[in-house]
Symmetry: C2
Subunit: 202 residues, 2 copies
């Protein structure tokens, strides 16, 4: 008869976050981009990712495109659903952090308490909040998807900056003037932060 308890003798050394970071050659981290619609969060996050990938980093961008149709497809835009949306994104970012990924997230995330709740999921220093600081005037003049126009016309309710508040970060790890500065300049600021933090080499 075969040994029914043969499984018990195997002692797998669970692969840890530190093991994965060593494999990747850099530590994992969450860069949380916040700002108004059309403030340039996705543009900046994707541009930073491109640079980090070029430097050999293991990266991923979580944004509305890949979250709203999948993990959070059951959620709408009520206050409660928006909170749950950000909670799940935070938890997913945490799993990816454990997986060794340098995660970039691009969500309006307008409420300070929701962002603070997400921050509280992470060890100190693993969550960096980056404020994409563009004025409402600039964002509305860009309006790439016509959302501000529709919000002004009353066709979209609870639109951040128009009919729903945006609470600017008080002490973000970084602010980028994504209303005036070029994307290149903002990318350089984010990379400088990552060098200062020892995430990428000098």
């Amino acid at each position: 008869m075969k040994d029914k308890s043969s499984n018990v003798v195997w002692h797998a050394n669970a692969v840890t976050r530190a093991d994965r970071e060593q494999r990747n050659g850099h530590r994992s981290l969450v860069l949380w981009f916040t700002g108004l619609s059309a403030s340039g969060k996705s543009t900046l996050a994707n541009a930073v990712e491109e640079e980090l990938h070029r430097l050999g980093c293991n990266t991923f961008v979580l944004d509305g495109d890949n979250v709203r149709h999948g993990l959070c497809s059951d959620l709408g835009f009520s206050l409660e659903d928006r909170e749950e949306n950000l909670r799940r994104i935070g938890e997913t970012a945490k799993l990816m952090l454990e997986a060794g990924v340098l995660v970039l997230t691009a969500f309006i995330s307008p409420m300070r308490k929701d962002r603070e709740r997400v921050r509280s999921l992470f060890p100190h220093g693993d969550f960096l909040e980056i404020f994409c600081d563009a004025s409402l005037d600039v964002c509305e003049s860009r309006d790439p998807k016509g959302l501000y126009r529709r919000a002004r016309a009353g066709e979209i309710g609870e639109f951040t900056g128009i009919s729903s508040p945006y609470e600017a970060p008080v002490n973000p790890e970084l602010s980028c003037d994504t209303g005036c500065d070029s994307v290149e300049a903002s990318v350089a600021k984010v990379l400088e932060l990552l060098r200062e933090r020892g995430v990428i080499a000098e």
Copy 2:
């Protein structure tokens, strides 16, 4: 005056799954381990991960420990909540697949239709179902957490194999006899499958 539309000139080449796979030196994939409680899913998934990490792969294990307390902490064990639990795990695995990770999941996932729904999220060949096939008798004799004893005593309701069905896979990509074979033998079978599929080198 600075150029308000300066963001528009940047054309970031979005980093793709293929770019990440090239960086990692292997394609990404989901290995979905299914089987009764105590059938050896987590043990096998962790042992396979250890080998893959040793081979230089970018890996992560999703299991009850890292999902139930975080992403799915709002869910209980009703039929509806179990379905939603597996749906979210599937969507998270899909995000990790995009991120270039070789994802291993270890969940009982007893219902065929729930597993098929998860499978349908993935491109053909990216989701491999691995049946941890140990008899109820063996699993119950192991009972590392005393769950079967408590289920038999009526202290846990809807317990898979006792008071709730387990639907064995019909055409899994691999079956491992985790009731009789050693963990080493099962690990070898999984690695052979990955070599056949071209995920790791011969």
